[in-house]
């Protein structure tokens, strides 16, 4: 059973009297343990696809199965539950709560799944240790560097052991040196068995993945393995 299976996904927005198709019939399958980059210029529909895969939105038409469960027909609260258990988000702008400590930020997903207070702290600490930030866990985001903030965000994404790590331009707000560090961390997470989807418009980021999906005008333009993976396969 694939982790992600979409069948003919459409997302249509009505702008005035005009209908705009952000996605027009996307069918993809992603297996557990894959490392996939979604590429495309702005306006191509890659953000829409990410929102659908991340269960932040529902398609206008088509089916989406996550872990075999049909999520395209779920309501708001059911989707919130799926996001909480199955998906870890990493955003370009980190999206941490500015007033809360790193530890509290990482605890957040556990609060909404009803974990006990002691478990929350222990799990959050271990997630922060994984991203090598155990010594900074009582710092607030404003007291951390960009790279450290993104590590906190990654720890938050991992804390619930989700099926999927969904990163949207994770290095977009970082300098090149820090970008490399963060990408190494993501590579490592993949090696540890996490399924990763990374949305980017930078080719050298995308080539770190094993498979690149290119999107253009709301459709999959190409779906290919990266050169080194082709080598290993072929």
């Amino acid at each position: 059973m694939p982790l992600i299976e979409t069948k003919d996904l459409w997302k249509t927005y009505t702008m005035g009297s005009e209908q705009v198709h952000a996605l027009s019939g996307v069918t993809i399958t992603i297996e557990k343990g894959e490392y996939v980059a979604i590429m495309g210029p702005s306006g191509s529909g890659k953000s829409t696809l990410m929102n659908l895969i991340g269960c932040l939105d529902t398609p206008t038409q088509g089916e989406y199965y996550l872990n075999g469960k049909q999520v395209s027909t779920m309501n708001d609260d059911e989707l919130a539950g799926i996001r909480n258990r199955e998906i870890g988000f990493v955003f370009q702008t980190f999206n941490l709560l500015p007033r809360a400590s790193a530890l509290h930020n990482v605890e957040l997903p556990l609060i909404y799944n009803g974990s006990a207070s002691a478990d929350r702290a222990a799990q959050a600490e271990s997630a922060l240790t994984k991203v090598e930030l155990a010594d900074r866990m009582h710092h607030k985001p404003t007291e951390l560097s960009g790279g450290q903030r993104q590590r906190v965000a990654i720890a938050r994404a991992l804390v619930n052991n989700p099926s999927l790590l969904l990163a949207d331009e994770p290095t977009g707000n970082l300098d090149s040196k820090t970008s490399i560090e963060i990408m190494k961390l993501i590579d490592d997470l993949h090696k540890q068995g996490n399924t990763i989807i990374i949305v980017t418009h930078e080719r050298d980021i995308a080539t770190r993945a094993h498979r690149v999906l290119s999107i253009l005008d709301g459709q999959i333009a190409s779906d290919e393995l990266t050169p080194e993976n082709r080598r290993t396969v072929g």
Partner: protein, 408 residues
């Protein structure tokens, strides 16, 4: 299970915006304080009146020419034209009313009391038959009230209020001593227990002399007439006793069957009821006016909550993205409103109580913490929190996570 954490998050958010939360709180405090002050002060005043009326026992009623609640000039004029209650009425009732345990005639006026160099002017001097002390809840602190014989022989004995004792006798024992009432010598037979003050007026500046003695010194009651105080045999028969008295008086006064009574009968309950209904509009008005500030307080809460939700759109987006359900977001914001209003409500109740006490204290009355006022205060502030917090909280809960996340 999640609710306590959401409450904690709400409190932390309020604390993080201390100044703003404080100002919102102030709005709620002012609102609740004004309502609580009014409610407590009104309760205190009504309580004092009720206590005062309790002097008339529950089985006692008063018959008088004019009285009760007068609502129009016409009514007043009609009452003034009535025939006074005379000695004949008193005699007829005492002889004819079987359900009346005791009947007492009372007249009154004001006079000057003097002992040595101490003088009290304009003291209420009541003349009453001896049974008054059994009918009215007047406690004897020292000595005795006048007796049947005092009345019969028109003796010059006087039963004095506590203030009269204090002013004329100081610490000396007054029993058996004499004083002068408008120049006539009287012997003190007893002192009433101290009753304190009401609306700043002492309730102890009075004296009672026997009915006959009063008539002898001050003359017949004339057009003002006599006031009758009648005690029924039991509470169950009170209505019947009143009917009996009504029949006797209507017959004596030749009131045609199709005309209303040309006298007034009142029980303590009647008086209280009339007073209540007369002051109801006034009380409701006061509470209504003070409630305006409560509504303003609520609008302040709502306004700030709306700002807070808009300002924290991104936070809401983040929380939703990582799995917060609508109810979680809604509770979080509702808690913020509720904590503010409940906290403000508590402070307002305490403040309102003290202000009411100070106000009522100026009128020499006591108020006790009223459970009604507290329950009302707490439920009003909770209500305000829910009513004015619900809309912003629902707005927050229904935000689209994608739009909220990209909100700048």
């Amino acid at each position: 299970m999640i609710a306590p954490i959401l409450l904690k998050i709400a409190v932390e958010a309020l604390w993080a915006n201390r100044l703003r939360s404080g100002l919102t709180l102030l709005g709620v405090i002012i609102g609740v304080t004004s309502v609580m002050t009014i409610i407590s002060a009104l309760e205190g005043m009504m309580g004092a009146i009720e206590e005062d009326l309790a002097v008339l026992g529950p089985t006692t009623f008063i018959v008088t020419k004019a009285g009760g609640v007068i609502t129009s000039h016409e009514q007043w004029m009609e009452m003034m034209k009535r025939k006074p209650i005379d000695q004949k009425s008193v005699d007829l009732v005492s002889e004819g009313c079987e359900l009346c345990e005791r009947t007492c005639a009372r007249v009154g006026g004001s006079a000057r009391l003097k002992r040595g160099n101490n003088t009290m002017r304009r003291v209420f001097i009541g003349g009453s038959t001896f049974s008054l002390v059994d009918i009215v809840d007047m406690e004897v602190a020292q000595g005795r009230f006048h007796s049947y014989e005092d009345d019969l022989y028109r003796r010059r004995v006087i039963f004095i209020g506590d203030l009269v004792r204090e002013e004329l006798f100081g610490d000396a024992d007054p029993i058996g001593k004499t004083l002068r009432l408008d120049g006539t010598k009287y012997t003190v037979c007893g002192v009433a227990k101290k009753r304190g003050t009401m609306f700043g007026e002492s309730q102890d500046d009075f004296a009672f002399i026997p009915y006959g003695t009063h008539i002898k010194q001050f003359g017949a009651p004339g057009r003002r007439g006599i006031q009758m105080m009648i005690k029924a045999v039991s509470l169950e028969r009170l209505e019947d006793a009143m009917d009996e008295v009504r029949m006797i008086l209507r017959a004596q006064r030749h009131v045609p069957y199709d005309k209303p009574d040309d006298f007034t009968m009142l029980t303590a309950d009647n008086i209280l009821e009339a007073l209540n209904s007369l002051t109801r509009i006034f009380r409701m008005g006061l509470i209504g006016i003070s409630s305006i500030s409560l509504v303003v307080g609520g609008i302040v809460v709502m306004n700030i909550m709306m700002v807070s939700v808009t300002e924290r759109t991104r936070e809401i987006g983040i929380r939703k993205a990582i799995g917060a359900r609508q109810q979680h977001i809604m509770l979080q914001f509702l808690f913020e409103a509720l904590v503010t209003t409940l906290f403000g409500g508590l402070i307002g109740i305490v403040l309102g109580y003290f202000i009411a006490e100070a106000l009522v204290g100026m009128l020499d009355m006591q108020i006790s913490p009223s459970t009604f006022a507290m329950v009302a205060g707490l439920s009003i502030s909770t209500g305000i929190g829910i009513i004015f917090g619900l809309y912003p909280a629902m707005k927050a809960a229904r935000l689209d996570p994608i739009k909220a996340l990209s909100y700048e």
